[in-house]
């Protein structure tokens, strides 16, 4: 299996922030959603993968090639868009398309024309006259029409209205039909990550808190409401991430729910009222909260 992205022991230190000992890998053809609050280190991670910054320690590889040394070869295979990236406001979309076509032999003019129709963009219009949503779509068009093997998208839907966000996510959904295409995208919108990601990674204060298959994430996490008296042995429950006690009610959130969880609680004298699946947002908030508590 080809590994699209591989980070091993990566550290990047800034004055007020550090990405610390990041180990992460993404097999080719998978979609990884990188979730974290502002300042968690998502953009730093993506810049490392583009070779724009150099890690202080550790190894960064994309398609097996070390970065930033192999950045020219690697960037031919990457489509990168970030929230702080702007196109030339005085130039038209057509001018940008011609520029990209000159740089990338893989440029697909027919697909570009299709995306222009789909996103309802006007190629002759200068970017300065585009709305934020149109600018994001234009940037995506420039990336997608050259068929990169890996898409690195840093907060691609930030600031978009719901309609534009839906169009962008639909376009990404189409890209996913190509099973060899890999995507790493960062967001603090857990709903859209849940919609398209295969793998979920939580990043907080420069550290990877968790990185797992989405289905496993959602299957293993449960919110359990119980009734009974508090027993310190509850703290030893496997995967316990959060406890709220408001006698006689006790709310537990666990990341290791399985067939043994309920019998264990009953053995502790608790009556289980309900067991609920958790949303990715709830899982993220609980994971971050657990990290802070530790």
């Amino acid at each position: 299996m080809i590994t699209a992205i591989s980070l091993q022991g990566v550290t990047k230190q800034y004055d007020t922030f550090a990405l610390q000992d990041v180990d992460l890998s993404l097999p080719e053809g998978q979609v990884m959603g990188l979730i974290g609050i502002n300042g968690a280190g998502k953009s730093t991670l993506l810049r490392l993968l583009m070779g724009l910054i150099r890690a202080d320690r550790g190894e960064v590889r994309v398609f097996g090639q070390a970065l930033p040394d192999a950045q020219v070869a690697v960037k031919r295979d990457i489509g990168y868009a970030s929230d702080d990236m702007r196109l030339y406001p005085g130039q038209s979309l057509r001018w940008h398309m011609d520029l990209i076509r000159r740089v990338y032999p893989s440029w697909d003019e027919a697909y570009a024309a299709h995306l222009i129709q789909r996103f309802q963009l006007r190629p002759a219009q200068t970017l300065g006259g585009f709305s934020h949503g149109q600018r994001v779509k234009a940037l995506l068009l420039l990336l997608l029409a050259r068929h990169p093997r890996l898409l690195l998208l840093d907060e691609p839907t930030t600031g978009l209205d719901p309609v534009a966000r839906g169009e962008v996510l639909d376009a990404l959904g189409d890209v996913l039909r190509d099973e060899r295409r890999s995507i790493l995208f960062s967001s603090h919108n857990t709903a859209e990550v849940e919609q398209i990601a295969d793998v979920i990674t939580f990043l907080h204060e420069g550290r990877v808190l968790a990185s797992r298959d989405k289905e496993a994430f959602l299957d293993d996490w449960r919110r359990v409401l119980c009734r009974g008296n508090w027993d310190d042995a509850i703290n030893a429950l496997p995967g316990l991430a959060s406890v709220r006690c408001s006698p006689p009610l006790i709310e537990l959130k666990t990341s290791a729910f399985d067939h043994s969880t309920l019998p264990t609680l009953q053995a502790l004298g608790l009556t289980v009222d309900s067991v609920e699946a958790m949303s990715l947002e709830d899982i993220f908030i609980t994971t971050v909260g657990k990290g802070k508590a530790q």
């Binding site: 583009m50 724009l52 020219v72 960037k75 702007r86 030339y88 130039q91 740089v103 990338y104």
Partner: protein, 228 residues
């Protein structure tokens, strides 16, 4: 990073990009310079003086405009990440910016310089003024080169503005200084073109300074281990 290892095709693409982005504004500056040349050749001393001043101002402004628009404004407008996301190295970007700006400046510089030489030789204006005019032109080129190198190497907008103002303020004293050269005093108002050793040495020194500025900027840029 070896600062000579750049991909020629990539650099050419970057230069062409900047040329396309700023060619309209450049055309405006060239039109203004041609107007200034017309004023110089008008025959009226007052109008010619106004034309000469306009030409000098435009020569300085076109350089600072090109640098401000293509380097400093790109940082503010955040088009830099877009360019960095292309398959380019930091040194490709260095050469691209350097050559693009030199081309953007040298086109009007050589056009207007050539026009001025023709004007002097085909009108009653004294030919002996050519060495003096050449020295002023080359100094504006030196000012441009140093400001360009500072702008490429230094990210701080404040330091760039300081460098631009400091270099601009040197132009007046420089013109006063070269006007005191013996050959300039003796031959500027005649039709005899005399360069003289001091003026030639000065011009040679200015070209050396340009090369040194570019080498220092390249060396500093090559020490960057990544874009950001």
């Amino acid at each position: 990073m070896n600062w000579l290892t750049s991909d020629l095709r990539t650099v050419r693409t970057l230069v062409l990009k900047d040329w396309q982005v700023y060619q309209k504004q450049l055309a405006g500056f060239v039109a203004g310079m041609l107007l200034a040349l017309g004023l110089i050749g008008s025959g009226s001393p007052l109008v010619a003086a106004a034309g000469a001043l306009l030409l000098l101002v435009l020569l300085l402004v076109v350089g600072s405009y090109a640098i401000s628009a293509s380097i400093i404004a790109e940082r503010k407008q955040q088009t830099g990440p877009f360019v960095m996301s292309l398959p380019v190295t930091p040194m490709d970007l260095f050469w691209g910016k350097l050559i693009a700006n030199l081309v953007i400046y040298l086109v009007p510089f050589l056009l207007v310089g050539g026009g001025l030489v023709m004007l002097v030789q085909t009108t009653p204006l004294p030919d002996g003024t050519l060495p003096w005019l050449t020295a002023i032109f080359v100094f504006t080129l030196l000012v441009f080169c140093i400001f360009l190198c500072v702008a490429i190497v230094v990210d701080s907008e404040g330091w760039n503005v300081f460098a631009m103002l400091a270099l601009m303020t040197l132009v007046g004293p420089y013109i006063y200084w070269i006007s005191q050269f013996d050959t300039v005093i003796r031959y500027r108002a005649t039709d005899v073109v005399v360069w003289g050793k001091p003026l030639l040495a000065l011009l040679g020194g200015e070209f050396v300074l340009m090369v040194v500025a570019i080498l220092i900027a390249g060396w500093l840029h090559a020490r960057k281990r990544s874009f950001l």
